[in-house]
Amino acid sequence: IAPVRFDREKVFRVKPQDEKQADIIKDLAKTNELDFWYPSATHHVAANMTVDFRVSEKESQAIQSALDQNNMHYEILIHDLQEEIEKQFDVKED
């Protein structure tokens, strides 16, 4: 099995303002493959909680549109996960 690559995968940070917005994230998780970084799973998502999740390049556009349509505050913490994976090795061998 070849190692998984994460080219242009994104990590979103969303802060749902109320239960309705929290439910929107839960619904998005039903139809998209979201990897929850914080909290660890969809069912923990609640109003006023900071929610970080990873999403594929393919699905990120749909996620962004859904967040925009519902006037939800979000930021993109990581724009290209693969790049960040490579950048984590920023210390040279002694």
Binding site: V4, A41, K87, V91
Partner: protein
């Protein structure tokens, strides 16, 4: 040969195994390695005992790397062993601690998952066991402990990242650790587990809103611990019971250890707060370890003074 081990870099499993051997060779009076079991893929589970050999004293059990992708956690366990052996006889506090107590360090709990995160999938979290009637692989070892195991239904799905397993302690890794802790229960006064990320110091409970009987003491230790941690680089940690501070969990190692009778149990969620998440750059390993060390030493010192 596995290549050069470095405390400033992330080390793969082969390097970590070679490092455990090196530590034993270098410090035979102080470091011994105990094989507590093996994984599904037949990798060894090693605990390093730091302290005087053949002496039963108060002990602190620490584990790192229960979640595969949280790489800074095993880095801390290695750093702790290094600092303990290096500063014994030089640093007053470390000398006092090691003269009076032992540390049991499990540098990588989820060995198979850790290897998988290095070789196949950097984002892997669970272990690598096969699940019956499912194509999905792996159990979340931090949901597999016998601590209100059945209470959160969303952990039932084998494809979920937080799948709890088929039964409490169904996983070889969990069973090896629980057996070891149970057999050393007379000695172990503190249990500390290291995760990443979100900068928190947590204590029981995760499965209930009920506060443990010594909540006030745990909160006091956590408060001072996080204050001490922040003195080095002003890194701010929050602290509190798992359920109200992070989110509700069932089957966690922390709650299990507490209910077993270890009255000082803590979980560190190390750096950072989301800028890098699980991909903390190597350049931040040392500062993260240095500041965490301050908190761990404080906890150890407190327990040495306040437990019989």
């Amino acid at each position: 040969t596995p290549g050069r081990h470095s405390y400033a870099k992330y080390n793969n499993w082969e390097k970590i195994v070679a490092w455990t051997e090196k530590m034993m060779d270098k410090h035979p009076e102080m470091v011994s390695r105990i094989k507590i079991g093996s994984t599904v893929e037949n990798n060894p589970l090693y605990v390093l005992k730091i302290g005087k050999k053949n002496e039963k004293r108060k002990a602190i059990f620490m584990d790192c790397g229960i979640h595969a992708r949280e790489w800074v956690s095993p880095a801390f366990c290695q750093w702790f062993v290094y600092q303990a052996t290096k500063t014994y006889g030089r640093n007053k506090i470390m000398t006092k601690l090691l003269d009076r107590m032992n540390f049991y360090i499990l540098p990588v709990f989820n060995v198979d998952g850790y290897i998988w995160s290095w070789t196949k999938n950097r984002m892997w979290r669970k272990n690598r066991s096969k699940n019956q009637n499912s194509k999905c692989i792996g159990t979340d070892l931090n949901r597999n402990f016998n601590a209100s195991w059945n209470s959160i239904s969303d952990t039932k799905n084998p494809c979920a990242e937080n799948y709890r397993g088929s039964a409490p302690e169904s996983e070889k890794e969990t069973k090896a650790v629980t057996d070891f802790i149970r057999s050393h229960l007379n000695e172990i006064k503190v249990y500390i587990t290291f995760h990443s990320y979100s900068q928190m110091l947590l204590f029981p409970y995760g499965y209930t809103s009920k506060l443990p009987p010594n909540h006030d003491v745990l909160a006091k230790v956590a408060k001072i611990g996080t204050d001490v941690l922040s003195t080095r680089y002003e890194t701010r940690y929050t602290y509190g019971p798992i359920k109200s501070t992070i989110y509700p969990t069932s089957g966690s190692s922390l709650d299990w250890a507490y209910d077993l009778g270890i009255k000082y149990t803590f979980a560190f969620e190390l750096r950072d707060k989301g800028k890098y998440g699980f991909l903390l750059p190597e350049s931040q390993i040392k500062p993260t370890c240095r500041e965490t060390m301050l908190a761990v030493k404080f906890i150890a010192k407190y327990i040495l003074k306040h437990t019989s």
